[in-house]
Amino acid sequence: MVGLHKSEFKNPLVRWIDTRLPVFTMMQNEYGSFPTPRNFNYFWNFGALAMVAMMIMIITGIFLAMNYVPNTALAFDSVERIMRDVNYGWLIRYVHMNGASMFFVVVYIHIFRGLYYGSYKTPRELLWMLGVVILLLMMMTAFMGYVLPWGQMSYWGATVITNLFSAFPIVGKSIVTWLWGGFSVDNPTLNRFFSLHYLLPFVIVAVVFLHVAALHITGSNNPLGIEPKGPQDTLPFHPYYTVKDSVGICVFLIVYAALVFFAPNFLGNPDNYIPANPMVTPAEIVPEWYLLPYYAILRSVPNKLGGVLMMFGSILVLFVLPWLDTSPVRSARFRPIFRQLVLLLVIDVIVLGDVGAHRPEGWWVVVGRLATTYYFLFFLVLLPVVGKLERPLKLPDSISKPVLGGGGPLPGGAPAKPMEKA
């Protein structure tokens, strides 16, 4: 429909803009008065935290790119120059380097939140799937970013990961050559990885926009997993959740700062401070910690193509998760069996991460295979079956009832959040 927007803003300049391009109205509707379930716990901070982490990564990344040289002969030295001679270059780089870890920590907790409280279920399937797309893009971006300093682990990590595609029959070798831009990981590879490492974050921004847009159609899930039934069940996003997110952001920044200022290389691999050398293979080639679980799955399968397919499958299975879970109940609070299984999955993924950091020898192989089996068993067998067999607990009538009811013990302790009552 053509016509000026009817703005409710009083300020003449704001009103002038808003009638022509209603961005102020949009912000007011989506972040101001946006009705949000009143019973969020602090797990609902992690979407906002991921947004903050993403912005920090993009801003620091832009400044790093001003000083970085994507050339195999100069890349390592240019990073050291950033560390030594660029004003506060060490700060920018350490913030960026550890920011990748912080981004993944936050996103993994965000994903766990979605799993535990059933946020992927109807009508939020597409919202969830967009999230999985973001995870995939993040993994690609992080991997290519790790190649840029052109240390030993950069080079050999790039070699191992790109070589995975050679497992595919017939086209495999051609794909690898195409990815490399030559016949080994070399300058053309570094150039294109730099280009894509700069591009993909903006693709992530675009998908995040869609993710948030979809969220604002369905509205947020909540710890009870039941839809708000009226205004008594919701609060305006601002100021209630802007301030609650701000608390989370402060705590997030404390952890982040502790890493950056006091242990900036704690999560890194010492080998990446050795310049890349195609003639010397490191004793062990390991990815960054946030990719270790997938690496463990890859190495748990005795067949190369099988391992590659399982590794990709471990992410792809998340796309169909909304249809694998047959239970209509969202929140694990009301699903006693699912609750145990999903917490076991968390431990399972941590174990997989541990396995990924060790040589696939002796017990690590056995543990890796068991953990891989449980991962797929959970999604492909347990979820569909448990959804049918499990007897969920009785759901509360509405969000406001247990929240405002006060007093007596309630399922999962929704009102007894110590941080809000203390």
Binding site: E80, A257, I350
Partner: protein
């Protein structure tokens, strides 16, 4: 509530996994000796006297084989040397000075703005002079080895005769802390390898400690500034968190 033990279990497993992952590659049969470093801990700073003694060792011993390409002579201000001292140190070496009017390469005395002079013109020359082994660049060596400063110290003091049942490759030395225990570098430091001018007794342990302090500074010259900034930022964030939380409590007080 019932949720707390489970949450703790998960957190514990997560931390355990993280620690196990970070120590996974350190697994060797020899445990590194623990050294008290001036630069460890959140308030640690470099012991500049020790770093200066370490630089003396670098000049007289290490730099015969090892390059330190990321450093400039001007950086030595960071271990407390004066401008005059730095000028004199730089001028004591000859560096490539471009070409003369006939197009012939010339050498000139170094300046503070020059990179540390490398002992060999290229890797091949370095290998040829060192029995085929390439002495690694020392600029970020402290960051590039599992165990960091502790490992480098251990390496300096870890030389001995090989065990009777060990078959050594020709030209290799036994060092119990080196991966595989066979290292091409002959023992670089002994008691009295250098003469200290400040009266410190040059024992092997003292020399090792000093040179590693210097290498740690070289790898992370920004460390002191970083930690000092970190203390301020964390204090600020703690305050901000407290304030934000108070605002949050106040705003939410009418909801519950």
């Amino acid at each position: 509530m019932r949720r707390i033990p489970l949450a703790r279990l998960i957190l514990g497993a997560a931390l355990g996994g993280l620690l196990a992952a970070s120590s996974a590659r350190a697994a060797d049969d020899t445990k590194l000796p623990k050294v008290e470093w001036s630069f460890s801990g959140p308030f640690g700073t470099y012991d500049l006297a020790s770093a200066q003694r370490g630089f003396l060792i670098y000049q007289q011993v290490c730099s015969n084989c090892h390059s330190m390409n990321q450093l400039y002579y001007r950086n030595l201000e960071g271990i407390g040397l004066s401008e005059e001292q730095i000028k004199a140190i730089a001028a004591s070496v000859q560096v490539p000075g471009g070409v003369d009017d006939n197009g012939q390469p010339i050498q000139r005395p170094g300046r503070p703005a020059d990179h540390f002079r490398a002992p060999f013109p290229n890797d091949q020359a370095a290998r040829a002079a060192n029995g085929g082994a390439l002495p690694p660049d020392q600029s970020v060596l402290e960051l590039a080895r599992e165990g960091g400063a502790d490992y480098l110290y251990a390496l300096m003091v870890g030389y001995s005769d090989p065990p009777a049942d060990m078959k050594m490759q020709p030209g290799m030395m036994y060092n119990r802390f080196f991966p595989g225990h066979q290292i091409a570098m002959p023992q670089p430091l002994q008691d009295g390898s250098v003469q200290y001018t400040d009266g410190t007794k040059p024992t092997l342990e003292q020399e090792a400690k000093d040179v590693v302090t210097f290498l740690a500074w070289a790898a992370e010259p920004e460390m002191v500034e970083r930690k000092q900034m970190g203390v301020k930022i964390i204090l600020f964030l703690l305050l901000l968190t407290g304030l934000t939380y108070a605002v949050k409590r106040k705003l939410w007080s009418d909801v519950h």
